[in-house]
Amino acid sequence: MPNYSDPNWLVSQSERRQAEEALLKAGALQKAIFNSANFSSIATDAQGVIQIFNVGAERMLGYTAAEVVDKITPAAISDPQELIARAAALSLELDTTITPGFEALVFKASRGIEDIYELTYIRKDGSRFPAIVSVTALRDAQETIIGYLLIGTDNTARKHVEEQLRWTEESFRLMVESVTDYAIVMLDPEGRVVSWNAGAERIKGYSAEEIVGQHFSRFYPQEDIQSGKPQRDLDVVAAKGQFGDEGWRVRQDGSTFWANVVFTAIRDQGGNLRGFAMLTRDLTEPMKIAATLTKAKDAADAANQAKSAFLATMSHELRTPMNAILGYSEILMEDAQEKGQEDLIPDLQKIHASGNHLLSLINNILDLSKIEAGKMDLFLESFGISRVIEDVVSTIKPLVEKNANTLQVHCAADLGTMHADLTKVRQSLFNLLSNACKFTENGTITLEASRELIGGVDWIKFSVSDTGIGMAPDQMEKLFQPFVQGDASTSRKFGGTGLGMTITHRFCQMMGGEISTISDHGAGTTFTIRLPARVKAQPPAAAPLNELPEQMESADLSTVLVIEDDPATRDLLKRFLSKDGFRVQTVSEGEEGLRLARELQPDVITLDVMMPGRDGWAVLTELKADPALADIPVVMLTFVDNKNLGYALGASDYLTKPIQRKRLLAVLEKYRRHPQPGPVLVVEDDPDTREILRRLLKKEGCQVIEAENGRVAIERLAESQPMLILLDLMMPEMDGFQFIDRVHQHKSWRTIPIVVVTAKDLTKADRVRLNGYVQEIIRKDACPRDELLAEVSELVKSCLKKSKLKTGNRTA
């Protein structure tokens, strides 16, 4: 009861209410915590006997409070083995004997030490679960222990996650470790090795024990280390996140391998750099395989070339006796006629015809092998199309009549002229017609020719149709393949090598045209050839301008001295360079190379780096030390890319093997010696034509010298040497032919390219006189005036281009 007489009562009353409220609040809080279903809260007396067993404990452990309160200690629901272990551990730690029962659970707490530990609780049904338990001693006002409070949480879920994580890490680690094709190396942010897998051990040779903790720069070649590449690589990765590199790396034994390396920066969630992953592959083998394949391909190409060369030689050998067979049978035919033994003539004709047939077969084989060996050239000239057709038609006549066929020819009125290889056009038409004759009996063969404008290009279209046996689709597919005829029986029945169509096909391709065919098995075939009206010279084949004089006058050629120990490479270089118009001297070793360099004073030297005895570097050093040789440009050829050393020692250029023809020539072209370009000499008696040509040439930026006839031209030649002569043939005083004769007698004039521009209808004898002396003949009447000018302009341009190239480069 409250003491109402106390004057402080009101005060104390209110204080007490406050205290009670606080107590009530605290009680409610404690109750709430205590009754939380997620924590097991077990309170015991000082001896450990359970006094309170909350809802959470009931739920986790499966007992009701009534089943445990005042009956057991928490030790009874804990794993006994763990208790024994804990007691032993604590005894050791605290140097006192602790019994493996309740004491083991609360001993630390009883000494005032905060204690949280993991243990395994056993449920009423015997099942177990991991728990984390916090133990607190309960004390009264005198600090005497009156009991213990054990608050536990079920640790199963966390344990599970931990286990998962551990498993994932372990399996990932095992996987990384067992990969042998890739070196997977983790580096710390400074570049020291943190982990090392089996692939790294295989590829780089170090074991994990040897290398962990070492800096990764030791995987780089010495010069990379000196240039600071390892740190640069890491800086790039750190900046970019990832970085791929390819290059030489060094194994533990000092050997090198060609590596593909991918670095990845590893950062934590806060973005701090934790290290790098370095993935390395050894690509040395694939590189070798690629090199082997290239070699095999080269060998196959060489074999194919050899085959073509063999065929060409064979054909040549076969033609020699054919010469005698044909010649003697012709003699005998004439003799038989003169001596009145005409009964012998049919047999002699058969010998002669068979000989001719055999010859055409041989010629076809030769043509094809020439094409395949890349030795078939285009000789471009302007000619009237109708004339060619008349020519072919008269040649084919006997073949048409043989199978009782009729030949119809339809030529468009506007056919005019074309600029192409006359022989090849004629032969292509002849092949198509003879093919049609062969496979047609009592039928009609039609030859049509017309002009077409497709895509702004002027084309000439020839088509040959027959009413013969036609072809099935599978036969058409094989049509243009060499040595494959319609079927095996075709050759027995119809004869021939089966090469005619292949050759025609290739000829068309060479001239920038195409051949197509439409056929109905049993109802005839149409072959169509389309050729550009103006065939362009092919870079490797034609280009007669300028090349001929260089071949003719070897003193004008630039000399290359090839110093190379490998005979195959030597031979290859010699062939490449000779073909491109260099004079080539080869030598297999450095000493002799130096001697020859002094003797020949070549325009450029190619020098192999790897040679037995004195290597390329030593030879280069000597070359550059000799004042008589120091100015000769040296191109180093090597498998090893070491440009800096080369340039430091004075090399002018650098080429890595295997040598590619294109690159080689591009580099050597720079050192080619060229005569100074001169003006163009126009020799023409007609002042108007001369004026037109002069203007045209001026427009092309040429200096022009004019002469109204050959005599004046000779005088002009004596004054200055032109780079090109445009020559009319019909002139007073001294005509073009006489002029050419005079020019040819003069050694230094002989190399000037001459282009004849003439209105004269050239006879065979004229052509023979010009043969070999002039580069090209342009007919004034063969094409409209603007085409003529375009042709001249193009010739001059190609001349100019060469001479510009010449002046610009010989400074190095």
Binding site: A312, S315, H316, E317, R319, T320, P321, M322, N323, A324, L326, G327, Y328, E330, I331, E334, L359, L366, K370, A373, K375, M376, D377, A541, L548, Q551, M552, K764, A765, V768, R769, N771, G772
Partner: protein
């Protein structure tokens, strides 16, 4: 009667061609190799030379170069005859100094035209 020097190592071809040219009205001299060709060209002073290219010893190109280098034989037209027909043969022949080029087997009529072209030119 124009005189032709035929240089040809193959006996049958030499016999065949010289008989046909004789019949066509030429005076014929034959050489079997390059050295003999050079000797005969100097001693016989033919109006024209038919030069086979593949000859034993001194080949046709070399013989031509020699003949074109000597003042007394320089002006004699030389027609190269070859069973080679590879690209470059023609250029090589012309580079060596041959005035024309023909391939074997000989097309007799074509060869005659060529010969007459040169001899006709000489005559004018």
């Amino acid at each position: 009667m124009p005189k032709i020097l035929l240089v040809e190592d193959n006996e049958m071809n030499r016999d065949m061609l010289s008989r046909r040219l004789l019949k066509a009205g030429f005076e014929m001299v034959s050489a079997v190799d390059g050295e003999q060709a050079v000797d005969l060209a100097r001693s016989e002073a033919p109006d024209l030379i038919l030069m086979d290219i593949s000859l034993p010893g001194l080949d046709g190109w070399e013989a031509t170069r020699l003949l074109k280098a000597m003042p007394e034989t320089r002006s004699i037209p030389i027609i190269a005859l070859t069973a080679h027909a590879m690209a470059g043969d023609r250029e090589k022949s012309l580079a060596a100094g041959c005035n024309d080029y023909d391939t074997k087997p000989i097309d007799f009529r074509r060869l005659l035209e060529k010969i007459q072209g040169f001899l006709g030119k000489e005559a004018t």
